[in-house]
């Protein structure tokens, strides 16, 4: 599973992307977040307050109960500010 971080989440996470292999019990965005938090480090800090974080699974906006599986691309980023 590929995890991407953008904007200040990228800075806080200390990385733009990473390949992760969470256990088979991680089947939703929420479970992935919980697993990243338990793992600790920069990514755990980045996902500390999900109120300011948006999620995309395979480049489409997703809710916390959205399913995730091996091979998916999961991105975390702040509310967008383009235009």
């Amino acid at each position: 599973m590929k995890v991407l971080y953008f904007a200040w989440l990228r800075e806080k996470a200390g990385r733009a992307e990473e390949q992760v292999a969470p256990p088979g019990t991680v089947t939703t965005v929420q479970a992935l977040i919980d697993w990243i938090r338990e793992r600790g480090g920069g990514p755990a800090d980045a996902l500390g307050d999900m109120a300011a974080v948006r999620v995309a699974v395979n480049q489409e906006y997703a809710m916390l109960d959205h399913p995730v599986k091996p091979g998916d691309e999961v991105a975390f980023f702040p509310p967008v500010t383009g235009g």
Binding site: L4, A56, P79, T81, G82, G83
Partner: protein, 161 residues
């Protein structure tokens, strides 16, 4: 049509290409967003305060812009549309974004153009980081942008209730 690019664009040339040869078009509405100078008014000269860098999510950006573009065509009788969004470092006065909608009818062109920019502002994965005298600062999203985008969904919400 959508484009994501580092380079600047020529508004006149883009519009000429967009509407050229299609004489069904009665009008085209265009919005061009520019980098506003956020520096204090008393700061002048070559300081270049107020420059910013636009980061985006390659792949998802194009996908979301295509989706917004399709949605506009589904809602209004449009002849042509164009979305161009830049990324990278930009200075005050630089063009950031262009959205254009061409239609037989003026009102459809205006409504679709505003829809495109309102939705782009809340859906397209771009993030601005400003260069300030105190260092880099990530621009926060604005409630007014969410409100502007939400007005386009209110009719569907009402319809599904």
């Amino acid at each position: 049509m959508i484009r994501v690019q580092r380079d600047d664009f020529d508004v006149g040339a883009e519009l000429g290409r967009l509407t050229g040869g299609n004489t069904a078009i009665g009008g085209v509405c265009v919005f061009v967003g520019l980098v506003r100078d956020m520096a204090p008014a008393d700061k002048k000269g070559a300081d270049k305060v107020g420059a910013m860098t636009l980061e985006h999510y390659p792949g998802m950006t194009e996908r979301q812009l295509e989706r917004i573009d399709r949605e506009a065509h589904g809602r209004w009788p449009l002849e042509e549309t164009l979305i161009i969004h830049r990324h990278g470092r930009l200075e005050p006065g630089d063009r950031i974004v262009l959205v254009a909608a061409a239609s037989r009818h003026r009102q459809a062109a205006f409504d679709a153009c505003q829809f495109l920019i309102d939705w782009l502002k809340t859906q397209a994965p771009f993030w601005k980081v400003e260069e300030t005298p105190e260092g880099a600062r990530w621009v926060e999203s604005r409630a007014s942008d969410d409100a502007a985008a939400a007005k386009w969904t209110s009719t569907e919400r009402a319809a599904t209730k």
